[in-house]
Symmetry: C2
Subunit: 352 residues, 2 copies
């Protein structure tokens, strides 16, 4: 029996210990915390390639170029990287993003890091996956702003170099430069944008990977009830939930506009003020917070969540403790995100 | 006498040879070309730190962060990197750049790579250096769009982390977060954004560093007369010259707006249609061309320049030959430009 299996065995016994009065060496508090954390969370996989979404290196390379290229947008100013900037951990630091022609998005741009982990995309959960999000962004009035896919693809095709990149990424397609392949390539790239953090090392068994203060914060995060929604591999991102379970969210966030959430998609009363629960990986690096970026400070955001979701008023110390844990969710930027690709030079000149 | 000195001696003698009838081994055509090129051009220095503009690593690190940070702009959307994107070789690929609030710049954004080499900045030459350019961009209506420096600096100061970075970059300053230090830091960073190319290796004596076609193009570049303005370390960038010496530029470029050039700065008739001669380093990677980005193809741009500056009509083959040479001016992206810095997370939330 190796050490890990033995530890797990001991931990399992320890959990049973109190009721069964089995006489075993007690697990250390760290081991107990680890064991509990492992029931709530999962460490990051290497990437999110799957049978359904196979990721080939050529697709990833194409998707990476497309991600950084503003030329397929209406006026040549908007790339995915405009709202998802590497230097800002895949965000734009704005409350609500601004797309072509100074058009304001209704909601905040979440980080693209680990976004592919989520069960759905967008705050209203109305994009099925990263591919769907990428495709629809082309036509978003406050995103790429294109009137149709044809114009967007024509702008791409006018750039020498892309034709061959699409052909290599999608061999056998008679017309590879098309919006579905655009979406697949960007999705393939985003499925590689995962960044493990010290908390992943903890979850894998290294109980010294995070500080005692962070471990206390993790304990509090679990005990306070945050983990009910913010669990799994994404530390959230898998559920849609009403924002403001115990009181109206806007009274605490100070939101100027009352966003009805998923109700605006389904027109179902049950979806009133329902939003996607965001994943918390890298949360310390991605202010401002909430669907409308109405709160600048992570401490404030934690306090508001406890209040409006759980009906609990946390002290400054309790909030700071949870934030100590949240800081362990920050990983290094993936190299293929931090470093810009060199785009094929343009034969095309956007009109302006 | 070592080999290099011997070669130089031979080359010098070869130049004198015809008139003096000195009997020496003739220089090879490559050696003659190299020798001639060395009279017109200079290889890149490592960086542009100088007594007047000392570059410290802390200033460069601060300047690099500031370069990528959109938060000091009016609406939080414009950083230096918006118009000078790494993926587009320090340009935005637009004919004319777009700043805050969808405001159109009057002219094309040149690459920031090797920009510090130039004798002045901006197409009208009305920015003395990269520091001056960076500072004035804060107030440019179609750049950062700030009404004054105070607001811009207040937005910077609201970001935890910058105070310490400014203090370390400018020790002893009682109020280090100020527009002059903003400019100095970004200038310090830009003075490191030099990228040597295969042509630099050639200039340093490696005659095999560029292809025979490129060498033929270099010969043609010199003999056609391009080198009269596009010489020195920047392959241009040191002079102000009238665009359209032998005929009006707009008849060839198809420019929709007739830009009067430096005349708009000095109101001196002699400055009518006078623009800064751009440096040609990385020119193949930085379309579209000219002050208004009116021409998308480098081949077209070369043909137009020969026509309107030198009164020469080049054949397609002659143009292609010169472009073969121009392609040797492309260097790799500097690492500290290709890779985004991680910016201090915001406590500040831009209003939008």
């Amino acid at each position: 029996m190796n050490k890990t299996i033995f530890r797990k065995y001991i931990q399992a016994l320890a959990v049973l210990g109190a009721s069964l009065s089995v006489s075993v060496a007690a697990a250390t508090p760290d081991e107990t915390l680890l064991s509990e954390a492992q029931r709530h969370f999962k460490p990051l996989p290497k990437d999110l390639s799957s049978m359904e979404f196979p990721v080939t290196p050529k697709q990833v390379a194409l998707g990476r170029a497309l991600f950084f290229d503003p030329r397929p947008s209406l006026d040549g100013t908007v790339s995915c990287a405009k709202c998802h900037q590497p230097a800002l951990y895949g965000t734009d630091s704005l409350s609500r993003s601004i797309g072509v022609k100074d058009k304001l998005n209704p909601r905040n741009a979440p980080t693209v890091l680990n976004a592919a982990l989520q069960a759905s995309q967008h705050w209203h959960g109305d994009r099925t996956d990263v591919e769907d999000q990428a495709k629809k962004a082309l036509l978003g009035a406050a995103s790429f702003g294109q009137p149709d896919f044809i114009k967007s693809m024509a702008q791409l095709e006018a750039i020498p170099g892309y034709q061959a990149m699409f052909e290599q990424a999608f061999p056998g397609d008679s017309q590879p430069v098309n919006p579905d392949n655009w979406a697949k390539a960007i999705g393939a790239y985003e499925r590689t944008l995962l960044n493990a953090s010290p908390f992943d090392d903890f979850l894998k068994g290294d109980t010294e990977a995070i500080s005692p203060a962070a471990k206390a914060g993790l304990r509090r995060f679990i005990d306070t009830g945050c983990v009910a929604c913010h669990g799994g591999v994404g530390i959230g991102g898998s559920l849609l939930k009403k924002f403001g379970l115990t009181e109206d969210y806007w009274k605490s966030t100070g939101s100027q506009i009352i966003d009805k959430g998923r109700f605006d998609v389904t027109h179902n009363e049950a979806d009133l003020y329902v939003f996607k629960v965001p994943g918390l990986r890298n949360v310390a690096m991605t202010p401002p917070y909430f669907h409308d970026g109405s709160v600048a400070s992570l401490n404030d955001a934690v306090g508001i969540m406890a209040k409006v979701q759980l009906g609990k008023t946390l002290s400054h110390e309790e909030i700071a403790s949870i934030v100590s844990f949240l800081n362990t969710l920050t990983g290094a930027l993936p190299d293929n995100f931090a470093t810009a690709p060199v785009l094929p030079a343009s034969g095309f000149r956007p009109t302006n």
